[in-house]
């Protein structure tokens, strides 16, 4: 968690917005795997947070509260995308490439992340990048704490397979030269 003092969303929302924007963006980016979409959804998440700021109860850090809103916004977006692909696949999107590997991954790690579901990607980023505890991740994702632990463990195992596979391919390519 950040060491900066907690800002009150009711009275210091603008400061909170500026401070938390990059971190919320990264969580959303992990879920949708696209920067432009992530920026738009991050802004949408802050709009919702701004509207709900009076209802904020300081049971946890405001960052976790913002992440919870952002995760919900991203999940709604992904559901809409999935629905639009089912309703009008040819009009609204290109060929269906599966649930998680739609966006072209740019790096090996992004490819490994793309093998996970959006919620699990969010859990990995919230836990290993933002440093949230499993309880905080559970609250943000709306799942039990024990489920977070098992999902993160499975995610790491899946990512490891992808990373090791990429390393082996790289080694093979090097040895051919």
């Amino acid at each position: 968690m950040g060491q900066a003092p907690d800002l009150d969303p009711k009275t210091q929302f603008r400061e909170l917005y500026v401070r938390e924007y990059p971190s919320v963006f990264r969580s959303v980016r992990a879920m949708v795997l696209d920067s432009a979409t992530a920026e738009d959804l991050t802004q949408e998440a802050f709009v919702r947070a701004y509207r709900a700021r009076e209802k904020y109860r300081p049971s946890g850090p405001p960052g976790a509260w913002l992440h919870r809103i952002a995760v919900n916004v991203a999940i709604s977006y992904l559901r809409r995308q999935k629905l639009s692909r089912i309703i009008a696949p040819k009009l609204l999107a290109g060929p269906y490439l599966g649930d998680y590997g739609r966006v072209e991954a740019k790096t090996v790690l992004e490819r490994a992340l793309a093998r996970l579901s959006p919620k699990v990607r969010a859990a990995v980023v919230l836990h290993y990048y933002h440093g949230y505890t499993r309880d905080e991740v559970a609250k943000a994702l709306g799942i039990p704490s024990g489920t977070v632990a098992s999902r993160i463990a499975k995610a790491m195992a899946v990512m490891r397979v992808e990373l090791v596979g990429s390393e082996q391919k790289l080694e093979a390519a090097r040895s051919e030269r």
Binding site: V18, A38, E39, Q43, V47, Y129, A155
Partner: protein, 90 residues
Amino acid sequence: MKVYGKGDPLDHEVQAIQTEVSSWVPGRGPDWADLQARVVREPFVRLRVYLVSAATLTVIVAAAYFVMATFDLGSLSTQTVVEHTNSATR
């Protein structure tokens, strides 16, 4: 010695995640004016969606009623009454 389970991340894996995620930088960054504009705009957008949905539904229901009534279709068609006469009373 640290013993890793199958799903436990290795230090370099956590490092790789942190490096990767750090490289994701928003292109525009926070835009307070845009946020305020969206806050003002959103209720009207939502209201418009509701109004358009309600109007569309009304048109569909009215059109269905007129088509069914005009062409004598479905439950709006002329109802046939089956008369059961008791042969014993004849």
